[in-house]
Subunit: 494 residues, 2 copies
């Protein structure tokens, strides 16, 4: 008890000492506080969660499997949200006023007067950034609330798939009111292509027609307001997607949380992949923040990303320690939605949602690989977790039974088998497929690399995620510029 | 099913038809939608709530008392929150752009260009109002989340009393960043009093010292930025409360939800008093909105109040129909906190929190009357609900036993008895107090007006609330100006 209080006060002291005029250091200090709070609260509230029925047994362990608390992601999410509230004055006021606690009264008064004048002139105070920040937190809080409802009421799959879209409403609405950039950069090979400009004009007319339709029904218009997300001397060709940009953002906010929710079932994997993704995001952000030659808008949006991701990393690391093999708590859908939405928000408000998709490639592959089972083209058992073998304590791929083979299911399985993307068990006499390894990349890893212990499996998947992420950062800034004819990150000195 | 869909589409149609350029009519239409959604969702989700243990028996009914779903306020609160998301583009964009769905493309373009220019010049777009609005919703969502946690985990009294303060953090922080008005009007009798100005300077020095202390610890300064909440030609004497203004706002946000939570236990009372309070707020707001001679700031803050209160009225009326005698659902602490916080937010952001306290006088009296029992000066049984008599079906006052009379408890009870504010049962021989009616205004009503049926009792309490509210509006604009030397509402034509 005493040591925790000491730790907490030390970290609060650390904020006060290192905070002045550096948002990055402030969020690091907040992140440490978030880690300490989450780490100390989880063991205290666990029994209460078990008591009201938020509990589950770990099936990948030798008996007796005690009941473990579920939905512990709620603690991490709530801590995160209240930290983000606390950050507001430091991010949006202090650095502009820029007085330290050590400055004397006169200096402070002077600073204050300048600041006040700037506020009155509407020059300095970033109200629009504040609205974005608030809408981001609002979206995360909606996600947490809906995730909790899902964990409590076991909402049906086809309903819960769309919950993140509902939760992302405040984000999209504030984006509409406040930001309204709905144009995207067109790859240069499209404009260079002979019929490219013709194609573009067709798309343009279609967008214009759809916008007009929506406007005449709702009275809300869709037009791009600003396009300052490019370096001035490298203006690329843009296309305005209008209403479809909102459909796209909504799709991103649906995909990101659900894809993390699908890649789950191994101790530590949900939180682990989120931590790895957070690290990848930070590497990418600091590529921008440490560069000398980027636009103010790009700088702001990556600083924004750092502000959201660093405290997330803090609370997630605390949760990971309890969720890592052998797990003492489960994180629940609440955490998966929450974590996926953090990335979606950063990608959307930072206007780099395509880069976000690159980082989520393992999740994208896992989703696409799962599609035949998710849509019941191929039979899908209730659980697709790897099978635990109590004798050697290792995880083996789990199998589904192909009881009623159809033309479609047989051919999908055969094609996957030809490329070694699945393990099939065939009837020795007739040669018909009887069983197939469940279609998740978790099972695929076990098929490829053989049975292994749960924590080794998790580490392997996390390593893949990390390597893919790093490769995608390189890809983004080498192949990307070649495709699009420009990059918003340049490393040369001006 | 069909008729509901029809109703819904009709009301959506109604919005589109009547909405242009009138925020009041838009919120009325949203309120209707909120009513319909809440009304149709509650019976559908009730069984799921019972299933996960959110249930209770109504003890004031004849057996068999079936288990009724608890925490149904969650449906109302969630509906309200998503309606408030949907309102954003209508409140913050449409009326400024001010194009209707019927306007032709050229007019729209023209409007749009003007609007765009204004946004670029940072003249027109109310980003600061948007931040306030978002922080209000954020605060309400935090309240709902914490209220749900309270209903789920049965948080201890001394902890849950402060939950609203935690939930109100985003509000206070945005108020600090964005608004920072920390001065209040001083009653003119204080300044007219000979030693008044001396007293003020003492208070001023104390505030300055405390501000300095907080600033030197946290680096955040507390100074009033703007004082445009007064009519220019009637500038009254102001005093800057600095940091104490935030303590005060925090106290308001703690008191308002808890006071509604305490005045409860009769079918329909929690929702009923909220509906009555909402009506009183609206009467007060329209006094301002229909007046010709008020400042822009006063107009804006009362319009803000209407925008928050009208949709709240819609969802509450739907909930009231299920919660009214004989109740089919209970509302839970979630609703009490949520509803109290709506009023606190409106009062705080509208800068009329003192008027809010006037409207809450029945709750204030109930709280003060309850204090001796809440702080265990006088014994407090687990439940202080009125007692149901199954024979005649009426409610009777409930009694507590004075087992260990102390000097303090006996004298409190005797004084209350002298003014007929309590019913005592004494030992016929010794004359010692044995039992006393529990100290809530609900029991007091039963003591004064005799036993009555539950719905009559509720109606009586609501009628008192309504009459007190109306009197307070009159008081506010007659005695208030006399005390403070000015009123921000004047009914004369300029």
């Amino acid at each position: 008890m005493m040591s925790r209080v000491l730790k907490l006060s030390l970290s609060v002291g650390a904020i006060m000492a290192i905070a002045p005029n550096n948002p990055v250091r402030t969020v690091v200090a907040f992140s440490v506080i978030g880690y300490l709070i989450t780490y100390s609260v989880i063991p205290r509230v666990g029994p209460s969660f078990v008591k009201i029925g938020l509990k589950g047994r770990d099936l990948s362990k030798r008996p007796p499997n005690p009941e473990l608390p579920e939905t512990m992601g709620l603690v991490a999410a709530t801590t995160y949200l209240f930290l983000m509230f606390g950050l507001i004055p430091f991010i949006f006021f202090k650095y502009l006023v820029s007085f330290g606690s050590l400055a004397n009264d006169e200096v402070m008064s002077e600073n204050y007067k300048t600041q006040y004048q700037s506020i009155k002139d509407n020059k300095l105070f970033p109200h629009n950034k504040l609205a974005e920040y608030l809408s981001g937190i609002l979206c995360l809080q909606s996600t947490t609330l809906l995730g909790l409802l899902d964990d409590l009421f076991d909402i049906r799959w086809r309903h819960k798939f769309f919950l993140p879209a509902v939760a992302s409403l405040p984000l999209l609405i504030v984006y509409y009111v406040d930001f309204s950039v709905t144009s995207i950069v067109i790859p240069s090979f499209v404009t260079d292509f002979p019929s490219g400009s013709y194609l573009l004009s067709v798309v343009n007319s279609f967008v214009k027609f759809s916008n007009h339709l929506v406007t005449s029904i709702t009275g809300l218009s869709f037009r791009t307001l600003q396009t300052d997300y490019v370096v001035p001397d490298q203006i690329p060709k843009l296309i305005d997607l209008g209403i479809f940009y909102y459909v796209y953002m909504s799709a991103v906010s649906i995909f990101s949380p659900n894809s993390i929710n699908i890649l789950a079932g191994v101790n530590g994997l949900e939180v682990g992949q989120s931590v790895v993704l957070a690290l990848i995001f930070l590497v990418n952000d600091f590529c921008y923040l440490l560069s000398n030659n980027i636009s103010q808008a790009a700088h702001d949006s990556h600083l924004f990303s750092v502000i959201f991701v660093v405290p997330f990393l803090g609370v997630s690391l605390a949760l990971l320690q309890y969720n890592w093999f052998p797990a003492r708590v489960f994180v629940g859908d609440t955490y998966c939605y929450f974590s996926g939405m953090v990335f979606a928000i950063v990608g959307i408000l930072g206007h780099f949602s395509k880069t976000l998709m690159l980082f989520l490639i393992p999740q994208v592959i896992n989703f696409m690989y799962s599609v035949p089972q998710l849509f019941h083209i191929i039979p899908c058992p209730r659980h697709r977790l790897p099978r635990f073998n109590a004798e050697d304590g290792l995880m083996y791929p789990s199998f589904g039974n192909l009881e009623k083979p159809t033309w479609l299911s047989t051919s999908i399985l055969s094609i996957l088998d030809a490329f070694k993307f699945i393990k099939l068990e065939k009837d020795p006499k007739s040669g018909k497929i009887k069983r197939f390894s469940n279609m998740t990349i978790i099972n695929l890893c076990l098929v490829w690399f053989g049975p292994m212990r749960e924590d080794k499996l998790c580490l392997l998947l996390l390593a893949i995620q990390f390597i893919v992420g790093l490769c995608m950062i390189v890809f983004r800034h080498t192949v990307g510029p070649w495709l699009f004819g420009y990059d918003n990150l340049s490393w040369g000195v001006k």
